[in-house]
Structure formats: structure tokens, C-alpha cells
Symmetry: C2
Subunit: 337 residues, 2 copies
């Protein structure tokens, strides 16, 4: 799921530089809170947590929470705690995902489970989730708690759904969208919505940010899926072909399989269902996808959701925060081109 | 952790019959809520949840929550939701525990991970935890949320602590008590405390129930540990020797090791650290424990905590609920004799 974002701001409009700028003070406090709430007398917990913190995730989700709270004039400190909770929920998901997917590497580094084992990864994930809820409770907003706890259940539901579609090439695009809506978009949606919630903004404003988050999350995941078949490894901290080697059925694969000839489908069956996924097979897969437009159309779908995210924010007055959130959409999509 | 309780009420005072009687209406609603909140369009989730629900746990924790709320005159329906949340938290812990311990059987039945795999067990555990939080949020008591979310983090911390003492025979009794206080007693404590909290009882009443729960939990776990070296399998739904075969360092082992001769310690090293734990070794282990009093003294320690639990409730007026909660202490301890 996660990719390293390019945060140097040199890509013009398509960057997260303005979001980083607007939230840098508060992100400093988020980082402090991450370190303090990942602390424990049980040494393994801060050790493992530090590994995750140093792993180069750029914390897009908490920045979205902070900007969304700022946007509606929130003045307290609750958004910093909610942003940290969001990041902890994300981190717990990554820990459990790596166990479920039996992943060895994440962002080019050994996964926690390869260093400390599956057991510690499961349990430290549970700990971080517990700490996330404690922080939310501390903020005291039952509405924010409702949104984030619902997201926690939906994310897990999405991951279970994903087990069901695993290695199943007959998965439809709709099925796949339902999976990523739950496993990825639900947290973006909650991260964005709790901003206006804690700022006591209107129902419409909440709905706008929720819709922005959902569609940004969908676009983000689809671009991530496309990158797996075409990004540059060094740029992205993600190795091309990771999903392919794990036999993951993502949208580029779904499209390529459905559009393929009988012979091509046989190739996909071998690759995805029978692990015939060496470097030569990867090269062939990328070739097929380019020919039948599967990668380009995955990006086109992402752009579609990006447009919905953009329109979701359209009625809101122009503010630096709104501009920054719009830039994030462009950034998410442009990183693939 | 879990053992099947004898609920037929034929053991006289040392039974949970009065607790079952006092809470039976509400437990009916808890059971309905369990089924409905474990529901999902993702078939695997209700399937796996049903397996757990049918697995014969007798739901001591939610009954404690219900009785503790009744005791202070609570009249609403929030305690049913909190009791269900407590049971979901417990179930999520069992699912993750079985993955972490690589357990094949629980209460004489195949564990979920043996049927649906580790992946589903991790993720459905996450889902149930998310649903537990949603129900708590629905009740709307920030105090109850605070108590239960803190318990969730502490339980996970205790499980990680237990990884640290795994296979380490030099673990002290104090270290071990710290582990079970976190991994087992914290949930009993929270289950008991949220009763008076939701009933808006006094600070002292909350503290009494919290202390009752903590010490009941400690007694419960220690008796469970003793049973592993002496209970009758058919009675308990737990197979004698499970902990031994998994190389778990529990209090009977700690005491037996510390009290043993050099030769006996070498035996324990082989059994616990090097998996020399066949049936002959188990028989020898039980023989050593009987000779050096390790089992009897584990039960004595359990009785000590049972007494503290009893005194915690002493200042409260006599009510059927109080009597039932006191019976539970006796029941927990007597099931070993």
C-alpha cells in the first residue's frame, strides 16, 4: 500500500509541498506524540515502532487530517491527537498486512516480521491500535470516535475480502473496487472527515471532506497498483513487480486478463495462480499490459476518482488548505507519469 | 486462557449458577448482538465468528459486566453493548493468541487458524476489535471507552511481554505476574469496572469493582495454569499438558524450576527450551510438581488473589449480584480441586 512520496516540492503544482508547509508545526507535534505513545517498558514495542517510524513513510494521512481541521478554523490540539491516531491505525494495518501477505520487504527495507517475527508484528499492531483508540478517547469527540472505529472495522473487513479475491483472476473490477474502498479508501476518508468534525463544521462540510478522502484513497491505491507495473524503483521505494510476484490480483491484472486472448489468459493463470512469476514473466506481463492499455486505463480510472475528489471540495471557499488538498490529488496521480 | 466452565450449578456454592441466573435475560440479548455484530457481507467473517461462538466459551467476562451494572441499579441497555464489546475483545485476543502460539486446538476443537488460516484469524480478530469499539462508541460513555481502550493496549502489551519471557526459565514470579496482570487480568478488571461506570456509581464503587476484576483475573489465570498440569481433560475442555507441550513458562513451571535440584533444572531446560516434551516428559513434570508443591502453591497464590477480590467487594451492601460475584471467585478456584 504505502509508497514513498516525493516531498521535495520540485514538481510544481503536482506536489505535496504546500501541504507539508501548512502542517509542519503540527506534524512536529504528531511525531513527538508518535514516539511517546509508541513507548512501553516492554522494549520490543518501542524498538519495533522505531523501525516503522524510520521506514520513510511520509505521513500523508495525518497531514490530511491536520489540513482538514485547519480549513475549518480548528484551534485546539485534538487534531494532532487524531492525526497521530490515524497514523497508528495505518501502521497497525501495515504490520498485520505484512504478516498476512508474508512480505519480506516494505519500501526496500526488511519488514518488521522478518526482523522480530510474525508474533511480535501481530501483537505490536494490536498495541498500536489500542493506543490509537486511547488517544481518540482522550480527544473526547464521540463523533470522531464513531468515524474512526467504523473505519477500523471496515479496513479489516476489506482485508478479509481481499483474501477472498486473492489469486482469483475472475474478480471483476467492481469486486476489486469494493476491496480497495474498504482497505485503503476508508482510512483516507476517516482521516479527512475527522478534521471538520473536530472543528464542528457543518454536515455538508463533513460530507465534502469524507467524499474527498474516499476518492483520493481510491485514486491513490489505483496509482499504487499501476506503479507496481511501471514505476521506477529508486524513485518510489517500491520495487516494480512486488504485487506480481505475490500473485496479487490488482486492477492492471484484472483489465489485462479480461482483455486478453485465450493464450494470454493462460499466461496470467500461470503467473498469478501458479506463481510462475520470475523476471521474464514480469517483463511479459508489463508488455501485455502496455499493449492492451491496462496500465494506462488503471491510471485513467484513478484520474476519474481524482476528479470526484476535486469536485467534492469545489463548493468550499478557496483557502491555502483547500489548495493544498487539491494539490495532493494531482500529486498522487502525477507520480505515475 | 479460556476453559469451559461447568455451568450446571451442581457444585453448590462454588458455581456460577447464580450469576447465570441473574444475567440470563441480558445474556440472551448479548448473544443476539454477538451474532448481529459479527455479521458481514464477507462470508468468511460470520463463518469464522460462528465457529468461535459455538466453541463453548461460557462468557464469564460479559456476565461480570452485566452483574456489575445491575449491582448499581443500571436501567438502560448500554451494559449489554459493553458486555458484548468485552466478549469481542476477548475473542479477538484468542484469535491472535492462537496465531502467535501456533495452537492447533482450543477447548478440544480445531482453532480457527487451522481451518481458515492465520491470515483470516489475524484479520477477523481486527474486525471484531473494530466492531467492539463501534459498540462502545454507540454507548456513548467516554469513561467506559477510556477503560476499555486502555485495556486493549495493555492486553497487547502483556502479550508482547509474554513473548519476552517465552522459553525463559529464569523468569521470576514477579515477571510472570506482570504478564498475566496485563494479558488476562486487565480485561476482567475493565469488564467489572465498566458496570459501575455506566451506572454512574461512585469513585469508590468503581475502584472496588476494578480491584475485584483484576484479582479475579489473576486467580483465574493461575488456576488455569495449574489445571494444565492436573485437570481432567473431559471436564475442562482443556487438554492436560497443552502449555507444557508449547513450552510455556507458567507459574507451576517457574516454581518447580526454582525449587528443583540441578538435575531437575536440566530436565526443565530440555522440556521447555528444547521441546523435549513428550508424554513421558509430561508425566515426569507433573510428578516433580507434585513433589515440590508447585501445583498446590500455584493454587495457594490463586487463593490469595481470590481473597483480595473478596475483600474488594466487602464494603458493598449485600445484593444478589454481590453474592453471585463472590461465588465466581470460589468457582474459579474450586474448579481445580
Amino acid at each position: 500500500m504505502g509508497v514513498v512520496l516525493n516531498l521535495d516540492g520540485k514538481r510544481g503544482a503536482a506536489s505535496v509541498a504546500s501541504l507539508v508547509g501548512l502542517t509542519s508545526d503540527e506534524m512536529g507535534r504528531v511525531n513527538e506524540l508518535i514516539l511517546s505513545k509508541a513507548g512501553s517498558d516492554v522494549d520490543l514495542i518501542p524498538e519495533l515502532a522505531k523501525h516503522l517510524i524510520d521506514s520513510g513513510g511520509k505521513r500523508l494521512r495525518p497531514m490530511v487530517t491536520l489540513a482538514a481541521a485547519q480549513m475549518f478554523g480548528y484551534a485546539g490540539e485534538g487534531h494532532v491527537k487524531l492525526a497521530t491516531s490515524v497514523e497508528f491505525m495505518h501502521t497497525a494495518t501495515l504490520l498485520h498486512d505484512d504478516v498476512v501477505d508474508e512480505s519480506d520487504l516494505r519500501r526496500g527495507r526488511k519488514t518488521a516480521r522478518m526482523i522480530w517475527g510474525n508474533q511480535a508484528s501481530v501483537l505490536v499492531g494490536d498495541f498500536l491500535l489500542g493506543q490509537a483508540f486511547r488517544m481518540m478517547v482522550d480527544v473526547g469527540s464521540l463523533e470522531a470516535l464513531d468515524i474512526l472505529s467504523a473505519a477500523a472495522a471496515v479496513i479489516a473487513e476489506g482485508e478479509v475480502m481481499q483474501l477472498g479475491v486473492a489469486k482469483n483472476l475472475e474478480t471483476t473490477e467492481d469486486d476489486y473496487l469494493a476491496v480497495i474502498k474498504a482497505k485503503t479508501a476508508a482510512l483516507f476518508s476517516a482521516a479527512a472527515e475527522v478534521g471538520p468534525v473536530i472543528a464542528e463544521a457543518s454536515r455538508n462540510d463533513r460530507a465534502a471532506l469524507r467524499s474527498y478522502g474516499t476518492n483520493l484513497g481510491l485514486a491513490f491505491q489505483l496509482v499504487d497498483d499501476a506503479l507496481d507495473y511501471g514505476g521506477k524503483s529508486s524513485d518510489l521505494g517500491k520495487n516494480v513487480g512486488d504485487d506480481f510476484r505475490e500473485g496479487k490480483v490488482t486492477l492492471p491484472v484484472i483489465l489485462s486478463y479480461r482483455r486478453g486472448s485465450a493464450e494470454e489468459r493462460a499466461f496470467w493463470k500461470g503467473a498469478i495462480e501458479e506463481n510462475q512469476s520470475d523476471d521474464a514473466a514480469l517483463e511479459k506481463a508489463i508488455g501485455l499490459m502496455k499493449r492492451n492499455g491496462a496500465i494506462g486505463d488503471t491510471i485513467a480510472r484513478a484520474r476519474h476518482f481524482g476528479e470526484i475528489a476535486r469536485d467534492a471540495l469545489a463548493p468550499l471557499p478557496q483557502t491555502p488548505q483547500k489548495d493544498a488538498l487539491l494539490d495532493v490529488i494531482d500529486f498522487c496521480i502525477s507520480r505515475v507519469m
